[in-house]
Amino acid sequence: MGRRWIRWSHKRGMRSLVVPFIFLASVFLKLCFGIGSYSGENTPPMYGDYEAQRHWMEITVHLPIHQWYSYDLQYWGLDYPPLTAYVSWICGFVANLINPTWVALDSSRGIETDSSKFFMRVSVVVFDALIYIPAVLVFSRTWFGARSKRTQDLAFLLLILFPALFLVDFGHFQYNSIMLEGFTIMALNFFATEHDLLGAVSFVLSLGFKQMALYYAPAIGSYLVAKCILSGPTDGGRLFIRLGFATVATFILLFLPWIPPFSASPTLIIDPISRIFPFARGLFEDKVANFWCASNVIIKWKKWAAQEMLVKAAAILTFLGFLPSVIVMGKVAWDLKVWNKSPEEKLVETKDDPKPEESSSHTPILPLLPYALLNSSMSFFLFSFQVHEKTILLPLMPLMLLFSGATPGSEVYQWGALGSNVAVFSMWPLLQKDGLSLPYFALIFLWNRVVGYDPIGIIYTAFPFKSFVHLMSAGVYAAVIFLHFSEQIISPPARYPDLFPVLNVLISTPVFVCLWLWSIKCCVQVSWALTGPSGFEEADGQPQHRKRPSIAVNDASQMRSSFVAKSDRTRAVSLGPAQGKRVRRSSTRSAAGTASSTALPSSPSVFRGTIDSSVMEGRAAASPK
């Protein structure tokens, strides 16, 4: 449906209006969601997440800054990093201007008037429009720079219609689109355009908004370190120091009000830190579709092991979980490094492929980044301590980024659709509790229609199955539909009141585990495409062999027709969009005559070949002979 309408509007000469339309339509949908219920509506005395956010506006606007993290902690004390507090302060300030009763200190607790609800809903929509939507727009323009305008528009539409985010932000009520999506995607955009420092800063902002962004830290950190390795000891070292400096400076800026010259006492810094990292809670809350909760059905972890023990186990497993992507990232960087070659080799290279090293130095590893993000955040979700079901949004984000550019039917597409649907499903108990059943079904229905994905059709065509992911999707969807129906008909037996949530966890967890394994597989495949598996280099110089690794990546695609396979190949290095972007940038820059010194190639004609071959040549040239 999404494709059809974008094509229609392009044909009808409304090309330039597609983005504003999508934006307005999404705002409309968000407001429609806003009509519905939210977390903790009509449930005094504590209410829910909605009241927590509103309460933070109330305290930040009325209290001096050093009391923010210490005021009446029993009633939704502030436990997010400072950027959240600042954002709350802005909202609170505006609310105070319009109608002071919405955020009156203490007396406004649990206020649920129509107008205050509308204000809160609009505040999410506004921040979403200010941070998330520009980030997504830039993402669709930079990362898919080599693809058609339609694909870019479609990617924009798909990223805006991120179902899990929709339900959590505009239904349940939170500001995830700022942290998770906005700043992190912005960081990715900066990386893609080689502004690594800005990227690092915006990632720190994301961390400063919600500590959960730590899930991405291994991937982003290893990416930046890999980039430093690529650049060589002098350039890389300088970059490393700059990055370190930028990161620390941003952190200090964020925490400035709690640091001595600005705060009354040096111990105040402990307030926010201890609030942000609560180590005293349990292994998991409620029912979360992660490893601990799912295995808890068989092994009662809490009885079997002590708290500290479990914390350590969780930390080790998480570390092992994201290790593969870190290793792959490092290995690729090491293989591609160009700085320790002899001058003669460099000369040969420049003959083969006259790309100046600076421009090719870091972009080769960019395609790895989304998979690495998926890997690290999914391992955190599955194995780490004190995970919440809403946290599935974090692993989902890189998956949706991959999904937004995938061809229908390709492997990435199938995994993405499955992951998104199951993620939404895994939040079902939460959403049901919030009174969001109708929006839940409506959105799942709409989203699958928009992306042109048909779960029922997948069940029908389960046998003979075409791929593992196809079979798995069919099984999972059948189970999901069965669960939804039986929940309506049967009431759970008294002995197992949590029967359905537990079943939900048992259905969702395997999917997430598979996604995690798949992300490792993809990391390795992309790294092969970039460096070539060992022992592959003997045949260097022969085109048919050069193509091999990229097909390996895309055996992925399950496409039989050669045309599609080819188009898919570009996609597979796929998120190797950076290559395309470089083509465009180089040509525009040189055309403008601003090719500032060595940073970019001066002869765009080299890049006019197919993207594929340029990738491959670059790879072949860079790999050690």
Binding site: R4, W5, R12, L24, F28, L31, I35, G36, L446, R449
Partner: protein, 534 residues
């Protein structure tokens, strides 16, 4: 490439093409999301009717006064409610409990909102039929889609709560039958529609003249006795099936007194943007002027009292002479007779469609106690003419923008009103862009250019009007907070409503003038594609 294959295979296997499915799914999702939205008293009205028709014998239906929302629609609608009440009693027996007033649990919301969506499928089916056999199918497709997604239906049916989608489905079905040449079916369907909701009497004169001239008389003026008898008998049969039970019980008098309560005032609570809104506004301005200058005008004291009560209740003019129901009827009939004479001499499909719109239009502009929701009677048939020529299109744009804007005051809660505004903007943009390219004509003379600029300025004014309406309460609350003693904002409470009403009324009246001008000059100047249909 693969996509093309996808769509073609889909259209082969299903009876709805993919884009129709898309629209259906998208609109249903939006409507479902709006389930918890604000509901007007009409929701309780219809719930009460479910209870009346379910728990009382038919002889009591038009006598029951348990709730203040008595049954005041014609019998077919009562039968319709009776049918709906049967599943309702299975869903939740409390829905059809007569004494369970103002019942608003989730079950009844879910049930009643769902019935609106389901019955609206009649509209969707008819609009699909319109595409098949249209003069210009791609354009008709856009118009059909726009009608199905009309913001009027979203606001009135799916938020405010009524069954207009269903009944306009029947009206359009009847129009479709007229287009396809089965005029007998068209007449029968319209008779059925009249027995669902009597507001469609606004359109009846056009039907009467059209069917009489083109169906019961031959082109040369000879009476076609067979056709005449067929139509007369069919229409009488429809009315008998509707009214017979009540006639046998001798309740016709009571039924009519319920259907036509003549005790209401000239304007509804919020002035519908018609000619009387302009007259009332002029009266208010004159009163202010008379008060401030002390001019010796004859001032009706009841009228002064009427202004101070704001806009609610009966309207009595302070300066201008009062308007009686008789006056409104005379003006309406005079205007309609001009249109009908034209229709008599040109009984083509397009002429009928325009005359139909104009009949509804003149009743809306000059009728007694017109409700703003009646604007759909103009907008829906007018949409079918939208792609005719640039002149029609421009009329359609002005009337649609003014008409839909005049519906916004129905939604006064912050979330719903913004949703309504945003939806209307999106809908309008998606309709305007493709259609305006389709009908573009180069302006012929300077006067056209001036007119064009003036109309565009008027349309642009709606943006500022919306900003004013949205900002007014906030600014007023600031002022009242600043000086709580003076409390001057109180008498201005209704100002946004009044401004909205007057501004929209200007557009509605102008649209009417345009359309009637076009209609009277149609066969010479404004022939469009629909003229090919006889």
């Amino acid at each position: 490439m693969q996509l093309e294959a996808d769509t073609s295979s889909a259209s082969r296997t299903t009876w709805l093409d993919p884009s129709a499915w898309d629209i259906l799914i998208l609109s249903t999702v939006i409507k479902v999301l709006l389930f918890p939205a604000y509901r007007s008293t009409d929701f309780e009205v219809h719930r009460n009717w479910l209870a009346i028709t379910h728990s009382l014998p038919i002889s009591q239906w038009y006598y029951d006064t348990t709730s203040e929302w008595t049954l005041d629609y014609p019998p077919f609608f009562a039968y319709f409610e009776k049918i709906l009440s049967i599943p309702a009693s299975f869903v939740d027996p409390k829905i059809v409990d007569l004494n369970n007033l103002n019942y608003d649990s989730w079950s009844v919301i879910l049930y009643q909102r769902t019935t609106v969506i389901v019955t609206e499928l009649v509209l969707g089916a008819v609009l699909l039929k319109f595409i098949r056999g249209a003069v210009d199918p791609p354009t008709q497709r856009i118009i059909s889609a726009s009608l199905f997604l009309h913001p009027g239906f979203l606001i009135i049916d799916h938020i405010h709560f009524q069954y207009n989608g269903f009944m306009f489905g029947i009206l359009l079905w009847s129009i479709l039958m007229a287009r396809n040449g089965s005029k007998l079916a068209s007449g029968i369907l319209f008779a059925v529609l009249l027995n669902f909701k009597h507001i469609y009497m606004y359109l009846a004169p056009a039907y009467f003249v059209y069917l009489l001239r083109s169906f019961c008389l031959s082109p040369s003026g000879q009476i076609e006795i067979k056709n005449f008898l067929a139509l007369a008998n069919a229409v009488i049969a429809v009315f008998i099936s509707s009214l017979a039970p009540f006639a046998l019980m001798g309740q016709i008098q009571q039924l009519l007194s319920r259907l036509f309560p003549f005790t209401r005032g000239l304007n509804h609570a919020y002035w519908a943007p018609n000619a009387w809104a302009l007259v009332t506004a002029v009266d208010r301005v004159l009163l202010k002027y008379a008060k401030s200058t002390g001019t010796d005008l004859h001032i009706n004291l009841a009228g002064v009292a009427s202004t101070s009560r704001g806009l609610v209740g009966d309207t009595v003019f302070a300066v201008l002479p009062n308007v009686k129901p008789l006056h409104t009827f005379t003006i309406t009939l005079a205007l309609q007779s001009i249109i009908l004479i034209k229709l008599w001499f040109h009984p083509t499909y397009k002429s009928f469609l325009t005359a139909l719109t104009l009949c509804g239009y003149s009743s809306y502009l000059f009728g007694w106690h017109v409700h703003e929701k009646a604007v759909l009677l103009i907008l829906i048939p007018l949409s079918l003419l939208a792609a005719e020529r640039h002149a029609y299109f421009r009329t359609f744009v002005i009337a649609t923008v003014a008409g839909i804007f005049s519906l916004f005051p129905l939604l006064f809660t912050p979330a719903e009103s913004n949703i309504g505004v945003l939806y209307s903007i999106l809908w309008f943009a998606l309709l305007y862009l493709p259609l305006s390219k389709r009908v573009y004509e180069f302006p012929k003379s300077l006067s056209y250019v001036i007119l064009d600029v003036l109309e565009k300025t008027y349309l642009g004014g709606f943006v500022f009007l919306q900003i004013f309406v949205a900002a007014f309460p906030v600014v007023a609350s600031w002022n009242s907070r600043r000086d709580e003693i003076h409390n001057s904002g109180n008498s201005m409470e209704f100002l946004p409503l009044m401004v909205t009403s007057v501004y929209c009324a200007v557009g509605m009246v102008w649209g009417f003038m345009r359309l009637i001008f076009i209609y009277l000059h149609e066969d010479t100047t404004y022939q469009g594609q629909l003229s090919t249909i006889q």
